[in-house]
């Protein structure tokens, strides 16, 4: 005998849309370029301890602000540290900040959006009003204010960015749930007496996942710039630990003497951000059911 919880309502196979989306993504040159850029920097970040590069914090008073050379491919900074090494280690901070802050926004925001959209009523009213209020505050200003009050550190910067990005995910998820919850398969699940938590996790969440994934990818790009901005202002990664934003913060003081100090970290931020934007755009096209 089967209990109600064991009943499986037939839904369209998840594999087919996923493989179709992957096929469309592979055909999108921009998305592939984006994926390649992200993979390249992610690989560098992961392999940083294994690469034959100098210690990113090792100073050398005889090599202060040296131009790019065979010894220091990207030059050295104001206290003689190797810029290539700091760039590679800095990739860790930037990518981690981008991914973790968006993870915070998704993990906290999506459940609120699911509850708000699914249950409606006063819960929805409260969550929606609070979300609207936070959306009325500019992202960077909120992040700066939170980071300032929480104290300067990479972790606090990630929390500040994650919390500032959260309202977008609440609103997006709520909107998607409102569209999905009246579908026949959700009505069917409800009619056989499944618990709300089962309906939300098994039937609603998988069907609102695609736009959240697209938004998350695009928000990682914004979060990487936000982390770099906070570190540039001195509110993110603290010295001597390397991050692209804090490297630019120091570099701006030596523009005429050592322009290479400013060129590389900014170029790296630009490349990674363009990578996530290209991948996000590609995912949006690939996961859009209207696009044949």
């Amino acid at each position: 005998m089967t209990t109600l919880d064991q009943v499986r309502i037939p839904v369209a196979s998840a594999q087919r849309p996923a493989s179709r989306a992957w096929r469309k993504l592979k055909a999108n040159k921009g998305a592939l370029v984006g994926l390649f850029i992200i993979a390249f920097f992610a690989l560098l970040a992961v392999a940083a301890p294994l690469l034959p590069i100098p210690d990113p914090n090792a100073t050398s008073w005889s090599a202060i602000r040296k131009a790019p050379s065979a010894l220091n491919w990207l030059g050295t900074d104001d206290i003689g540290r190797d810029i290539l090494s700091r760039m590679i280690w800095g990739a860790r901070a930037s990518l981690m900040a981008g991914v973790l802050s968006v993870a915070i926004a998704v993990v906290v925001g999506v459940p609120f959006g699911l509850v708000s959209g699914y249950f409606g009523g006063w819960i929805d009213q409260i969550i929606s009003r609070v979300t609207e209020a936070f959306l009325a505050m500019p992202f960077l200003i909120t992040a700066i204010a939170l980071a300032a009050f929480l104290g300067p550190s990479l972790m606090n910067a990630m929390i500040a960015i994650g919390l500032s990005a959260m309202p977008v995910f609440i609103r997006l998820t709520r909107g998607q749930v409102l569209a999905v919850k009246t579908e026949d398969y959700v009505e069917g699940a409800r009619s056989i007496g499944l618990r709300h938590s089962s309906i939300i996790t098994r039937y609603i969440l998988p069907n609102v996942f695609a736009p959240i994934l697209v938004q998350a990818t695009l928000t990682i790009a914004t979060a990487i710039i936000a982390e770099a901005s906070l570190s540039f202002l001195g509110l993110g990664q603290q010295p001597p630990a390397p991050s692209w934003g804090s490297m630019l913060n120091v570099a701006k003081n030596y523009l005429s003497q050592a322009p290479w100090m400013a060129m590389w970290p900014g170029a790296a931020i630009f490349l990674v951000v363009i990578g996530f934007n290209l991948l996000g755009d590609g995912l949006r096209d690939a996961l859009d059911p209207r696009e044949a």
Partner: protein, 315 residues
């Protein structure tokens, strides 16, 4: 129309109240007891008690909030620890500088983004469209503080064409004011131009495939007239409302640009306040930015109604 604006203003009140709770709560995030920090090393118990009473810290938190809100509504956002001036006075002093920067950035974004969007839509799926899209994507991906640094390096350090920093008030010295603001406006308007380009292209592509445009072409109208008079006029509505929303974002985006070009505006005020732990100023700037943002949302809604005859008729 008047009743519509009043209705929209009333809707903004709960939003503002929630923002005020957030801004008030920020000071509660601070580690440690602020009174102990104020009392100095001697920590005289009488002084500590006096300070607690003065700043109402003995009251329950909701009562503290109500007092804080009451003062904020009357324009009292506290005093700056650094300059010993009222926060609202500081904000009022710095705001015109940022508004000038935002207006110049906006003009730049219009001048670049809209023509590029129109061209990309008219030449859809050609090399020109492709290039415009790549430029827009780059504009959205480039960190504006890095763009600012690179421009200073090229235009100021190497070419010596424009000053790297500084500010001249517009009404005192208009020419030099514009000159010092050119690079910052380019930096701040760059991402906005990219956003406008994408939206203009999208709106124009949709309008250009409408039946009435086919009819206009069938009548033998010149392509220029079809594009600019028939298509753009109908595509401009979402662009204008978007611009009002983006203007609010510009005020916030100015934080880093003002920092790089040493412009004494709203953005630099918050950054300086963060570093001097002048928390009343940080709170004041966040609150004023949110109010400005909500007002720009209202302007966007009103513009939408004013420009859309169907919406106007339904009021």
């Amino acid at each position: 129309m008047f009743s519509y604006i009043v209705k929209r203003l009333l809707v903004a009140i709960p939003t503002l109240l929630i923002i005020s709770v957030f801004v008030f709560s920020l000071q509660k995030l601070l580690p440690g007891d602020p009174v102990l920090a104020m009392a100095g090393e001697e920590r005289d118990p009488q002084l500590i008690e006096y300070l607690r009473e003065k700043y109402r810290l003995n009251d329950p938190v909701p009562i503290q909030y109500i007092h804080w809100l009451g003062s904020a509504v009357q324009g009292d956002l506290g005093m700056s620890l650094r300059t010993n001036q009222p926060v609202l006075t500081l904000v009022a002093q710095k705001l015109p500088v940022t508004v000038q920067l935002a207006i110049m950035s906006m003009l730049f974004a219009f001048a670049i983004g809209i023509p590029m969007g129109i061209l990309a839509a008219v030449k859809k799926n050609t090399a020109l469209d492709y290039v415009a899209n790549v430029v827009a994507l780059s504009g959205l991906s480039i960190p504006n503080f890095w763009l600012g640094i690179m421009l200073i390096l090229l235009v100021s350090v190497h070419l010596g064409w424009l000053p790297a920093s500084g500010y001249r008030p517009f009404f005192e010295d208009p020419l030099n004011s514009i000159k010092t603001m050119l690079m910052p406006a380019f930096v701040l308007g760059n991402a906005l131009a990219a956003t406008l380009m994408r939206h203009t292209r999208s709106a124009m592509v949709s309008v250009l495939s409408a039946d009435y445009i086919r009819t206009a072409r069938a009548k033998g109208l010149a392509e220029r007239s079809v594009v600019l008079e028939h298509s753009f006029r109908n595509a401009v509505l979402p662009i204008v409302t978007l611009s009002a929303l983006l203007f609010g974002e510009l005020l916030a985006g100015a934080v880093l640009t003002e920092q790089i070009f040493t412009i004494p505006g709203f953005g630099k005020l918050i950054v300086d306040a963060v570093f001097t732990r002048d928390y009343a100023v940080v709170q004041g700037v966040v609150l004023c930015t949110a109010v400005g943002f909500i007002l720009m949302n209202l302007v966007a809604d009103v513009l939408y109604v004013v420009l859309n005859p169907r919406m106007r008729a339904s009021l």
